[in-house]
Subunit: 144 residues, 4 copies
């Protein structure tokens, strides 16, 4: 795919400002990593209070960071005035979500005027080792 | 569908015990509501620190309670020694998640030996009013 | 849910006319059953040439009739000039698709101005017996 | 990802034999393309009798070839005696499915003992031009 471009030269500031307003991300301890047009990383350090009954990160918490990564990947390609809305997403859990931190790598697959489709691969990082633990496909809507 | 039965007479205690070990649910302030064979409700009071940039509950938080409702609905029909694992889920967001609280109503659609498929309707409750805000279909695996 | 109404008094003729233009449905031998606002049934008699390697109806064929049922359920609630487009769907296969015929029962869960979310339960019918063999959740877009 | 290996040296013959038994593929005119461990292509020449009301290939037909590509990608990594079953799949439609032919490229993302997760990108090919028209994520089960 050719590298996408944002119609908004200030897309990075806009994405970072909006992400900072997602209070749920603050509660979970998630932060923005790399921000590029159509490509957003969200970082989540492992914490015991984010786990399910077996001590792995809860699938819903994995979904939360993957959804934010998808949403902002879509948002980064939208006009300055646009808001982004998640219509639906699907998450496949591939391996137990354990490690030092998760990285959810949201990438736009297809950006349309109204509908943008994104994928987020979620990897668990421990030292120099990465393991794919989940993958999301999500549909995002541009709201003007 | 005929009313499902659990092979484990102590399924309710087992479900409540396991749910109490999901530390992520405690962080979000979610609790178990009604527990019946194949039918589990999870309750989430609205809190400002669970929101996304527009002040609605974050889609990932909605996913988290819906996934727990699906997982325990499946778990309630499993043998006493079994663990439950989310393989995948899909969430459609139907309306902004705002209100006094969410109720995620997990219901088993088809219970198999290895694979159980569940649905969770998520309603926002405000006073006597209910509004369907999201619906999940999830696939759960029995691990012995 | 309150019974939905169509903004188009001629919705049934419109749905039947459009369905007749789906040449893929003719190839598979599928036909429209009941047509009501937000509720469309598609009927598929079993045929050996629709099967996969184990002699069950191919999951893609099940998807085809479920998608048409969802699409026309959405279409039935749209204005007369609108076209309907499938954005995405997810199908869970619950039991082998065998029997005299399949019935895919498409129902609108939430109709919006741009986005309509539908569900289709697919049952295999043999004599007086029905068995749920698959369930779809699909997202449809109104195109004007 | 490291290149996957099949536990069955005769996996290609096994896959081709099983595909030939999918009578639905013959009806649609679909055939197997490249077959490698964890990587299966299914080819579908455009035909007017596979279309929906706007003259594009029907989403269900797209799903059918994508599901077969996913299923056999999973199957290629299974032991010789195993059968493969689609548990669920999700298809996002990204662009109108028109062109000389479709190619559904099924790839295994994660192969487990019981559960294998696959992706299939579906491209429309016209001359030397390719366009991504759909993407599927599917969950397949090994049945022994």
């Amino acid at each position: 795919m050719t590298k996408p471009r944002s119609p908004d030269p200030d897309f990075e500031a806009r994405v970072r400002h909006s992400f900072a307003e997602q209070r749920a991300m603050a509660l979970l301890g998630a932060s923005l990593g790399a921000v590029a047009p159509g490509e957003i990383d969200v970082i989540l350090p492992f914490r015991d209070d984010l786990t399910q009954q077996d001590g792995f990160l809860h699938a819903g918490i994995v979904a939360a960071v993957a959804d934010s990564a998808c949403g902002y990947a879509a948002h980064s390609l939208m006009p300055a005035a646009a808001r982004v809305l998640s219509i639906e997403f699907k998450l496949n859990l591939l391996a137990p979500a354990v490690g030092e931190r998760l990285e959810a790598r949201g990438r736009v697959i297809r950006a349309g005027r109204t509908i943008t489709v994104c994928r987020a691969d979620v990897v668990a990082v421990t030292g120099a080792t990465e393991k794919l633990v989940a993958t999301m496909t999500g549909t995002m809507m541009t709201v003007i």
